[in-house]
Amino acid sequence: MLRSGFGLINCSAAPAIRYLGLALVVLVTANHGSAQNTPLISGGAGFFTSTDSGNTDYLPIAEPLLAASAGKHILFESRATFLESFAPNGGNQTGYSHSHSIGLTYVQGDYIASPHFTLVGGYFLIPFNTYNDRLTPIWIGNFQDVPLILSLGILSSGSGLGGMVRGNAIARNKYTIDYAYFYSARSANEQFSAHRGNGGRSILYLPEQRLELGLSYDRLLQGTHENFYGAHAWWEPKDTAFRLRSEFSRGHHAQGYWVEADYRLQAFGGADSAIGRFEPVFRMQQTFRRDTVVSDGLPSVNTQRADFGLDYNLPHNTRILTSYARQFSVTGDHNVWETGIVYRFLFPAWKGKQQ
């Protein structure tokens, strides 16, 4: 499943115009008194290709993020996705069919009430495990495809409409504990699709060991009420470019896990050397059905998949992503080949005041 498939809808240009209008409102109300608090535009733009079982898709995509602070305690932030998907016409037809999607990934206001308490309101990313709210930006992910289990626990759209409290509960030199709790209302709005539900996440981080352990739970409160459980472990050894990340999710009808390891070859001449810019990546994942009800976005049968990637970090915040995956299931094994290039941008929304 491509990352672009989440929370997006085919639509006209009207939502884009509304988004731009919202962005202007945020920018106009933002604080410009500080020389360091100029509103920013960040995100990624890329071009992906994916060949799954012999069928190729081409996907130009842009994910702009807008952030603007107001005063000492408030931050507005929003991310949107604009994409166009092209695929060759099947059969004996020539040419390509295409579709486009525009969607708000999130738009939220943050009020930092105290050093340990931040109140979030609006349309926010569901804090379940780590992938949904930390690794989905195209300039962060090591693979084009999201994990097979991503749809567990994120209440369908990946975003909630309502409120969230989050923050740092305990901060010591040897460990930190942070938390997030949210409540989402039901919304059938085209741009703010959300399910009613609530839940939370807690993370223990050991900075000396660079080890992160977390637990997540949420509950769908509409239709058939279902519980979702999650656990994750990340290990990024100090002073190395190695990262090991893993997640486990369990839903009412299915469960699964993924484990991802990547290592940038900076030991060979430094991170900016020709070799040091390479980044081999490996991900293994399995999903297991607990019953025959397929309502959670996971494959309809038990599935295993191994992804082998080789990324290259070009200068000027540009990455090339390549990968080969083999997916195994009783319905048939198949290959997935993917290549893409992503550019990460980060600049002021306008020229700020000089210090």
Binding site: I112, P115, T240, F242, V259, Q304, L346
Partner: protein, 99 residues
């Protein structure tokens, strides 16, 4: 995928872990997001900021190659919410961005 595939995958991950730990280096940041690296090593608060950056921001993503100082406050505010930074960490990170 059967048991031998799982064993193979586990061996690959274990090998990668051992290799990474075996090639541990002295502190070698992958990239510098801003300004002169030598300046970043002067002063306790700047060391604090560098530590905060490595322990929090770098957990999810690499550093950008550079950005305007005029947005450093907004970046830090954004990171404070996203990474649940403490107030002290926010201040150290801002000082690291603007030594």
């Amino acid at each position: 995928m059967n048991a031998k595939h799982l064993v193979f995958g586990t061996l690959v991950l274990a090998s990668a872990s051992v290799f990474a730990v075996a090639t541990q280096q002295e502190s070698v940041p992958q990239t510098k997001p801003y300004k002169d690296p030598a300046r970043n090593q002067s002063g306790q608060s700047q060391n604090d900021g560098e530590r905060v950056f490595k322990q929090n921001c770098s957990r999810c993503h690499t550093a950008p190659e550079g950005f305007s100082p005029s947005i450093s406050g907004t970046i830090v505010r954004h990171m404070r919410v996203r990474a649940s930074l403490s107030q002290h960490d926010e201040e150290a990170l801002l000082h690291f961005f603007n030594p």
